[in-house]
């Protein structure tokens, strides 16, 4: 355990005060060591970038499989392993097994943890029984289980240190996201927007598991942790009870805005960033108003949970464009001036660049040319200018709105992008899928699906492919290069100092491409489709690339049986091959290296 050896009686008192900061500082230091991969997002800024350069554009073509490991579970495998010292931590979907593998000893299993969970949790997980991985901090592994139990394990032994319960699966609240450790707290979100769960971000004490604060996505100020005068939206104070006054009646109590994406942290500004998801239900007619603060980017104080600023990207959602995708923190030039920026690729198809200190909107441009539901984002009001033809609200209940791009999957879902400080570019796994969407009336029953729309999805007009892997210039809001992929790219990217960018595909390929051009350098077909995030680390002088295979998740469900033929007139060509012709279920870690 970190620090325990040097904690003598004499220094114990001196350590008491900065103890809370020590875990944070530990991770702040550890994230700089490229040999390790200490948090799912690579670092607090969510860069998913490694300084390792042993594998580079010249030799990536020679990569080979070093070793493999089966997780023993067949469902969709999101997230990726952590590497702390000489140990790799590998997780699985439900039942959320965690393995500690000894990298010094041929990846033998040091310990295994498998929680017992009520199978009733399975059917209330909307989009497969995924888990995006554990977090590390202060000598502990924090696992956020499907049943919303947050458990702290001793990183050396796997022994349970404490447990906390964050929600109730009986009302459809589940855990899928990866926690983040900030200072002396573990931050966790909640899933269940398709069950009318009111989203919240919650902080637990890393030593005791005691809940410290909880900030809801909607509700009175005491729930949202907003100061009516100090909390701002695009520079203006939000005013009293902004989390209820754009809702009708009590709908906000089952209002969604869940928080199942990734979290980032800026230690200098002392703010954590994340996004909130769709308002419940998917039928917009049942929830008039802007439905604040669903679909928003949040900046909260990690110690108190107080909201510094918030920005709602998609007021009154009509398409299920959850705002939960990662917030990448990068200091980049915008319009000739270096800004402390936050870059976010939203489900709604717009790539946003904001000032992360103030929440000022700097850039909002489409990162897939197919996006058609809005013409642009008004930079003064921050509101998307919705095209009536694609407005499922304006078209009304029981009307099928057709040809909306992107589909509910979004132009990008949770699969995180990467940022290379060397190229200054963002590498984004994207979907290129459109939809028809018909909303209709639904009734709420606790613990039962609360959806209220039927959808069909198909490739964007003019092509056969359903995904692109793109390089994005966030300063300008422009695509630099774009590689078409047959299916949605549902795997988190990795950028490296070797100027190689890695990602996986739904067919199961692990691909390495040139960061400058997108040229493919290496491709290997793993046993199952990849929806996991690519990781790199160094062990005994050798750089490794690791990725989980295991098709599933929303993409796996939606695509497993093949997309329906597109409706006539949409311009797309028929004959789309089903994903099941390319891959099958399977949970495996594949680790790559260069030849000895």
């Amino acid at each position: 355990m970190r620090g325990s050896l040097r904690t003598s009686c004499l220094v114990a008192a001196a350590l008491l005060v900065p103890l809370s900061a020590s875990a944070n500082e530990g991770l702040l230091v550890m994230q700089e060591n490229p040999a390790e991969w200490v948090m799912p997002t690579g670092n607090y800024a969510n860069h998913r970038y490694s300084k390792l350069a042993q594998i580079n554009t010249g030799n990536a073509g020679q990569l080979q499989v070093a070793w493999t490991f089966s997780t023993g579970v067949l469902r969709g495998h999101e997230g990726g392993p952590l590497i702390i010292g000489d140990t790799m931590y590998v997780h699985a979907p439900f039942p959320n097994t965690v393995y500690a593998l000894d990298l010094n000893n041929d990846a033998t299993i040091k310990w295994k943890y498998e929680p017992k969970q009520d199978p009733d949790t399975i059917p209330v997980m909307c989009c497969d029984t995924v888990n995006r991985g554990p977090a590390y901090g202060d000598g502990k592994i924090f696992l956020y289980q499907a049943d919303t139990t947050l458990v702290a394990l001793d990183a050396n032994t796997g022994k349970v240190l404490w447990k906390a319960v964050n929600g109730d699966p009986k009302v459809g609240a589940t855990g899928t996201s990866a926690p983040m450790v900030v200072k002396d707290k573990v931050i966790v979100g909640i899933s269940g927007g398709e069950f009318g769960v009111r989203g919240h971000l919650t902080a637990y004490d890393i030593n005791t598991g005691k809940q410290v604060w909880r900030g809801y996505s909607m509700g009175p100020d005491s729930d949202t942790l907003m100061d009516p005068k100090k909390t701002t939206h695009l520079g203006k104070a939000v005013g009293k009870d902004s989390g209820t006054n754009t809702w009708e009646g009590d709908q906000w109590k089952i209002g969604g805005g869940t928080t199942w994406g990734w979290y980032s942290y800026d230690p200098e500004l002392d703010l954590i960033y994340y996004g909130s998801g769709n308002p419940s239900t998917w039928n917009p007619a049942q929830r008039p108003g802007d439905n604040r603060w669903s679909m928003a980017i949040w900046a909260r104080n990690p110690d108190t949970g107080m909201t510094k600023w918030v920005y709602q990207m998609t007021p009154h959602d009509e398409w299920d464009y959850d705002g939960i995708n990662e917030m990448i923190l990068a200091d980049i030039p915008v319009k000739g001036k270096t800004r402390k920026a936050l870059v976010h690729f939203d489900r709604n198809g717009f790539g946003y660049t904001l000032d992360r200190e103030t929440g000022e909107l700097l850039v909002a441009e489409k990162f897939d040319p197919a996006v058609n539901w809005a013409t642009h984002v008004d930079m003064k009001t921050g509101r998307p200018q919705v095209v009536s033809q694609y407005s499922t609200d304006q078209n009304g209940e029981d009307v099928n709105s057709t040809g909306i791009c992107p589909a509910a999957l979004g132009s990008k879902d949770q699969q995180p992008a990467a940022f290379s400080p060397r190229t200054g570019l963002f590498y984004v796994p994207t979907n290129h899928v459109c939809m028809d969407y018909e909303p209709f009336r639904v009734s709420y029953t606790a613990g039962q699906p609360y959806v209220g729309a039927t959808l069909s999805m198909y490739p964007a007009p003019g092509g056969k492919h359903m995904g692109n892997f793109i390089a994005w210039d966030a300063s300008k809001g422009a695509i630099v290069w774009s590689n078409p992929e047959l299916f949605s790219v549902w795997s988190g990217a990795l950028a490296t100092a070797g100027d190689v960018v890695f990602y996986g595909t739904l067919e199961g390929y692990l691909k390495a491409v040139d960061a400058s051009t997108g040229r493919e350098l290496y491709s290997f077909k793993t046993p199952s489709g990849i929806i996991g995030n690519v990781t790199t680390y160094m062990h005994r002088g050798q750089q490794y690339i690791a990725v989980l295979s295991g098709v599933g998740g929303w993409a796996g469900i939606g695509l497993a049986a093949g997309l329906t033929e597109p409706q006539a007139g949409l311009g797309a060509v028929g004959g789309y091959a089903a994903l099941s012709n390319y891959t099958a279920l399977g949970g495996q870690l594949t680790v790559f290296k260069l030849p000895d």
């Binding site: 613990g447 069909s456 939606g558 049986a561």
Partner: protein
């Protein structure tokens, strides 16, 4: 708070029709268990369309688009070839569970879910049409919504 699950578990199949009467009438279309749908010139009756629509809101995330099955749950275009109406109803109301080393399959009980139970016969009609091969994939062309369907939905959904 509405009781969570289990309520229907004590209801035997024989009592289901009475129990269902509590939340809504069974439409006439369900009477014809063998062929509970009407398709003329590629246009389906409203109830079958309603089944398509509700299926793709409530069921398809597990059972796959168009009843074709997913990695979670079986293809209902196959199941409905042998699953009789009463058995279909029993599974929808009470759920079903198969938990093992390689299978973690859990069908929830929808007995208290109005979005399912008010349209359970529509779902049956749609899936039967699919499994009989009478209806292809995708969104079918539909007859207009009859007044009796409007009244039924309003009465059942409350």
């Amino acid at each position: 708070m509405i009781p969570y699950r289990g309520q229907w578990k004590i209801v035997s199949v024989g009592l289901l029709s009475i129990a269902l009467g509590l939340i809504g009438p069974i439409p006439a279309t369900a009477q014809d268990e063998e062929k509970p749908y009407v398709i003329k010139d590629g246009v389906v009756d409203w109830y079958t369309f309603s089944g398509f629509r509700r299926y793709h809101a409530e069921c398809h995330v597990c059972h796959g688009p168009d009843g074709l099955g997913g990695s979670f749950a079986p293809a209902l275009v196959e199941s409905l070839k042998t699953l009789a109406y009463d058995d279909f109803l029993e599974v929808v109301v009470n759920g079903r569970e198969k938990i093992g080393a390689s299978v973690q399959s859990k069908m929830p009980a929808f007995g208290e879910n109005l979005n399912v139970m008010c349209f359970v016969d529509d779902l049956y009609a749609y899936l039967k049409a699919r499994s009989d091969g009478a209806l292809g994939r995708g969104r079918p062309k539909k007859q207009p919504k009859p007044q009796e369907a409007k009244e039924r939905d309003d009465a059942c959904m409350g």
